[in-house]
Symmetry: D2
Subunit: 337 residues, 4 copies
């Protein structure tokens, strides 16, 4: 951390600041320039609270140097983390495809989709049983019944199952049915939920909030990792910008940037990231070309009648075609699928 003093800060102000820093157990390197003094704070441990010192008399600005996340950082663990799932891992050379409907709607819809995506090469089935909806008047998911259908689909197809959990007290229930817990974008900073997911020791896919920086995503990852649960997948799913021709703006930069910052696998959700089914294919290809460890794609046998996200869902035959395209791109960048 670097403390920039105001132009004209007094000797006494500078002394007060250095005394405070030392009292907090750090060492100080003072550089007094012609225009202003700069105080470098040295010493290990967690970053000091910027605000405490930032408010002291004579201080102009506090500049953090270290990233505020630790367990999630490459500095902490230089090698890629491989998240072992059932007979395969996320984070190695194989690109993992998660596919399925936005919401579980009924037995036929789910099983039909599950068989189709399995055959096309997906490894994990997605499907929402509890749905976060902007409107209280929209379909809120099938709940427990949906979880049971997911378990049945796993039984029938051998696919792993991922589904969203929306509140801490539901973590035990969802954990008994799902192989991977999904924490949705709106809950990325629901800290009670992050704690519960960390404690569960189940694999977790954590989606970046639509309004969250990469740094905040990694800070939320820290909540889960701090419980010793490192079977954690991060997922870029589009951020909110001023552009309105697409539902969100998929942040493709985040793929290589996150791979630099963290050892955790990075997934991409082009369905939410674009909001339009006819953009899903090109953007899924882009994600893999940029180095994503997996993609998550919405597939529905009858998108026109889907109860949610129909506009961004692929039909099974289009998905099968896309898998062929994705495999070609994966191989072009030295991966498999």
């Amino acid at each position: 951390m670097i403390i920039v003093m105001k132009k004209g800060a007094t000797t006494r102000e500078i002394a007060n600041v250095t005394a405070r820093v030392e009292q907090l157990g750090r060492q100080v390197h003072l550089s007094e320039g012609e225009e202003r003094a700069i105080i470098g704070v040295v010493g290990d441990g967690r970053p000091l609270d910027r605000e405490q010192i930032g408010r002291m008399s004579g201080v102009e600005e506090i500049v953090p140097i270290l990233r505020p996340f630790k367990l999630a950082s490459r500095d902490f663990r230089p090698q890629d983390t491989l998240v072992r799932l059932d007979g395969f891992s996320a984070g190695d050379a194989g690109v993992v495809v998660i596919a399925g409907p936005c919401a579980v709607e009924d037995r036929v819809q789910l099983l039909e989709t599950a068989h189709a995506v399995k055959e096309a090469g997906a490894k994990v089935l997605r499907g929402g049983a509890f749905k976060p909806r902007t409107s209280p008047y929209s379909f809120q998911g099938m709940g427990l019944e949906g979880l049971k259908l997911l378990a049945e689909a796993r039984q029938e197809t051998g696919l792993l199952v991922i589904t969203e959990v929306m509140s801490p007290e539901r973590v035990p229930l969802v954990s008994t049915y799902a192989d991977i817990l999904q924490i949705g974008a709106r809950n990325m900073q629901n800290y009670a939920l992050l704690h519960a997911a960390g404690e569960s020791q189940k694999p977790v896919l954590l989606k970046r909030g639509m309004m969250s920086t990469m740094e905040e995503l990694l800070m939320s990852a820290e909540y889960i990792l701090s419980h010793g649960n490192d079977r954690l997948l991060l997922c870029e799913r589009g951020i909110r910008t001023f552009e309105h021709y697409t539902r969100n703006t998929l942040d493709i930069n985040a793929v290589p940037m996150l791979k630099q910052l963290t050892h955790l696998p990075v997934f991409v959700d082009p369905s939410h990231g674009t909001g339009k089914w006819d953009l899903v294919g090109p953007v899924a290809r882009a994600a893999i070309a940029a180095g994503a460890d997996g993609v998550m794609i919405e597939v529905h046998p009858d998108p026109e009648n889907a109860m949610s996200d129909g506009a961004q869902s692929l039909k099974p035959e289009r998905f099968a075609q896309l898998m062929i395209e994705l495999r070609a791109v994966a191989e072009a960048v030295g991966r498999t699928l």
Copy 2:
């Protein structure tokens, strides 16, 4: 809702769409222009799901006409809602000032602040007992102990007490100590929490998410109102933009815009909205000049040593001075304080 068909949509496609709409219990007005057909959907009730129809063959775009919120809208209730509190109301001519520390830290800090803000004219004491923090390594609040101190401060000063509740299972506990439940920006779309707050029948202050639209704020309000709980205050607290000289960008437009859209009282939090104590005063004055029904201001007796948000907290003497300024502005716009 208006359905815009693609240029060149076939008669059959148009017929399919109109049939679907009628099947959903609405009437159809078809306009066939030279370039394309436009289908107006008429009939009361809740809006149809855009996605369902948007995905049908031949449809180019769905244009919603009605606002998706109902109970929160001025159309539904044209008169201002007065939220009765203890001997006074929010939403009438009197501007309500909420003040206090970001977090409850100890008995002395809280009581000293409570007495000071009471004397300066505040009606409600704020103070966080459970704190949502980006980092798992930051101070997370005093918890139950903090709630008890808030209750003691109320006892001593007669101020009402507002504090944040972060998860649905804590609503009963927090409700026994607080007069007003605060739902924070990060939880604006934590639907389980919104339901629990709605059921509690306690007054609620709902903060706009830092990257949520006004429409989404009103949709979240709808979750609370749909439980018959209309003692609801909305609070603008700054949105996230590209500007980085300030912590957030306070959306001053939201004050008069929300007052047009909804009958609920609108508050402003200039402390989070700016992130800098020396901007709080001018922006608080602006909020009242723009028509806000109340402001929420962070006050701390020793901001340099505050455990959170010190950079944006006012000292009690500065707050007392600000109250004089706010009163002058309130009177200039025909309000009292």
Copy 3:
């Protein structure tokens, strides 16, 4: 400037960086912590180019300390700059109101508006002769004819005249008719135009780009000031965000923030900042309460038939009413109007 070296940067890399900095005429303060080395760059003069050094081997990050603007900063000139106009100044206790139509459309429209705003208390008449339009098919302004009508309106009413100039070669022409040159939001980084406006020695009102930070606004101001032209007014006019209920998001924080950063007068344009005539009044009041030195308001005698910006223009009688409100707020914050 502070140079943060990577964890594990070699002695040689550190030496290379310090040598480069010294070669550029600055001094170096080296702090070697346990985790990484930090190099403080001391010495006066213009900031070094971040990129040059940021790219050197072993460097993790460059942190600028000094603001990149100089002539525009309060450090450079602590007192408020008063921009003398004709018998009055901007930047003193008197709040200056600029009003008039978005575009000059014809003689009757302009003169009628000019008389009305003069009578209500405005000091400056606005009116576009050259109009920047998103679409090549929209009305592009009356050009020279419009300039002549503006000059006639000045003659008749005694109001000063402000109008937009859109390209450097038009600066001399516009300068012969207008008292104040306006540089619009889309041209805030049109550097050739900034140079020409600086050279002209006419008063300039520089609008913040809808996509520009305050820092960039002040850097653009620097272009004008560097020609010795300090009769410069800055104008906040709303920035682009994700919110879509309003045309732009007026950045009210920018008013007190800019007043801290710079000695130049700060104006606010609530017409473009909101895009809706019924929000203009509340937001204009807010601007003055926040400390703005002036406001710029669109007024049109027949907004329904305006050739541009009708949706955000006030009728003259509504404007006269607003002036009364603005005066009350100005007095409440110790200003006059």
Copy 4:
């Protein structure tokens, strides 16, 4: 265009609006629902000005149906436009690579880079002679001397040359030296410049503004196309968002979205789109996987000493390696390079 009337609009208000629309030469389809009336505007020609009607009494909202651009749209020209350059075209199966330094700095730097990128497979050499810089104190480019060096590099290598033009009066000069005129992000709405570039009949590469929507990009394209100049390339180069780990957020969605909306070739600039040289490779691969017709990459023989944009420039050997990767991805998606 659809006109939504307010709830409770009077018969007279509805009649006034329909009369106005008919007077403007359009036909009207009136749908009177239980809650409100909706007026569909039918008839060909350019869109009516929303504001004119939006301001009429009783009107709640205007909903545009047609895209406001015409010549740039796929509706107008369904086939891909091939922009013929010298012996090759942009917009066909071959992906075009533009490479070179941000700024022309001296003869050796430019020629060395030109030979290197030619050998690696680039078809066009980039290099700035006139540089738009945020700060008046930064290097502003070599000007005419730079143009001459570019012409020399073309002579020596056979590469085409692209360089930025910043003001309308410079278009003739730059046109005599360059094969393609570049209009930079900051000038995307410099309408005088767009007109001049349109008139020049030279090929133009138009960059999307960093906070401009795709719609605005296509409207600016319309300015150029309306002069009969359709040798036009669009270029996505990153937009401004709240994320700060990268300089900009490259909008990968824009590639397939623009390809749907327009017949013009779409390029991507991953150097500005990321701001970090080590992200350029992955994002360039992503661009091609998403369907871009070309990429524009900054290459510098000595990025540490580059006068601008060193942080995002590749060394020639890294660029040569990247070309191999890009070729593999291009082939995986059925293109060549």
